[in-house]
């Protein structure tokens, strides 16, 4: 009986250790990308907490924004995905489509199909914050997102 107890205690100990180490792992998972050399200057606006920061994906800032090139001098080839930027939608979306196939994103959400060349991915998706605000929106909020662009004057 006491041996059984001892075995039980041991297994619980091993399990909890495994869980803790896993927890610790997930906490550090964004460390690699946030130790990127870009972060020396872009401390404030560069922090990457989202899904794409996972260590397993082995992504760096340049995976999306392109190589440093002339930067910080202008002009340079860095890609900035803000609305004011004059990159074409196709160039912006090409970066995402390197990994995300149109077929798969269509399965996840039908609206991807109809906006393919009309709207950039970054108009709806935000990658830097911990969770993408567009993911997991309720029915009402998601129809409000459509409304933001599709409203006609009455």
């Amino acid at each position: 009986m006491s041996r059984n107890n001892w075995l039980l205690m041991l297994s619980v100990g091993v399990l909890s250790f495994a869980l803790m180490s896993q927890g610790a792992n997930s906490a550090d998972s964004t460390e690699q990308i946030n130790n990127d050399s870009c972060m020396k200057c872009h401390k404030r606006n560069g922090a990457m907490q989202g899904h794409h920061a996972q260590e397993q994906l082995k992504m760096s800032c340049s995976s999306c924004h392109g190589e440093q090139g002339n930067h910080p001098k202008k002009p340079n080839d860095l890609m900035v995905f803000s609305v004011e930027n004059d990159m074409t939608i196709d160039t912006k979306n090409g970066v995402c489509l390197k990994c995300h196939s149109p077929k798969k994103i269509a399965q996840a959400e039908w609206t991807h199909n109809v906006h393919a060349q009309k709207v950039s991915c970054t108009s709806c998706h935000k990658l830097h914050p911990e969770s993408d605000p567009i993911m997991g929106l309720g029915a009402k909020d998601s129809s409000n997102v459509c409304r933001n662009c599709h409203t006609v004057q009455r």
Binding site: P102, K103, A106, W110, N113, V114, A116, Q117, A139, K140, S142, S143, N144, C146, R147, H150, T151, V152, R154
Partner: protein
């Protein structure tokens, strides 16, 4: 003797004529009041070429009419995608009560809970009278009725008869539509936007062959889109 016989025949003829004409004239009078009552007949038009499938109408209806989660008075049915990536498109059509003039749900209702509002032609439900037998749900050829889990009565779209119409507003779905794909109005008013659109566009109604005379019109989606 002969005079009184002629007199009798004359008066009988006059009486018969009078009796036979009287109901006719009464019908005439009734028809007049009928016209007065029926100068309001609500209908709706869904312009599928404008619909973007955002479901704002569904959510607005749920909120205004307090429709519980899990059931709905209206839904937007999506078909597609059509075409090849990246030029794909979808078709959307509205699925809700058609407000039939000869409504099967009303005809089968044993308690009179399902009724047509004589003032405006809206097919509606009196929840207090409904016993939940679900005959109407079976009878409806458009499959738009359901049992409201809260009231336990049959429920469906009533053009917001109890809510927005009472406040002189348009139905919730029409108000919410961002692209103005839904138009609500009076079929008897030739000046109404609804009638104008019905005159100017080819429209369709579903299952006309059943003789239900539905009042939900649709402008069917064409292939592709108009690029200006």
């Amino acid at each position: 003797m002969e005079n009184s016989r002629r007199h009798f025949l004359k008066s009988t003829c006059a009486l018969v004529a009078g009796v036979s004409v009287y109901p006719l004239s009464r019908d005439q009078a009734n028809a007049d009041t009928g016209i007065r009552i029926n100068n309001l007949k609500y209908a709706m038009l869904h312009d599928e070429t404008k619909c973007i499938g955002c479901n704002a109408c569904v959510e607005a209806c749920r909120e205004v009419n307090h429709v519980p989660e899990g059931v709905t008075r209206l839904s937007i049915e999506q078909s597609g995608p059509y075409g090849k990536y990246p030029n794909q498109y979808y078709h959307f059509s509205r699925h809700s009560c058609q407000h039939c003039e000869d409504a099967p749900c009303v005809n089968v209702c044993p308690t009179g809970a399902a009724f047509i509002d004589k003032e405006n032609g809206i097919v509606s439900v009196n929840a207090d009278k409904c016993v939940g037998c679900q005959y109407c749900i079976l009878a409806c050829p458009y499959d738009v009725r359901f049992i409201n889990p809260v009231t336990k009565a049959a429920d469906k779209c009533d053009f917001c008869r109890e809510t927005n119409l009472k406040q002189d507003k348009q139905p919730a779905c029409v108000e919410a539509c961002p692209t103005k794909a839904l138009v609500f109005g009076n079929l008897k008013d030739p000046e109404s936007e609804l009638v104008m659109l019905l005159k100017a566009n080819p429209t369709q109604r579903t299952k006309l062959d059943l003789g239900t005379r539905p009042k939900l019109f649709r402008i069917t989606a064409k292939q592709g889109e108009i690029i200006l």
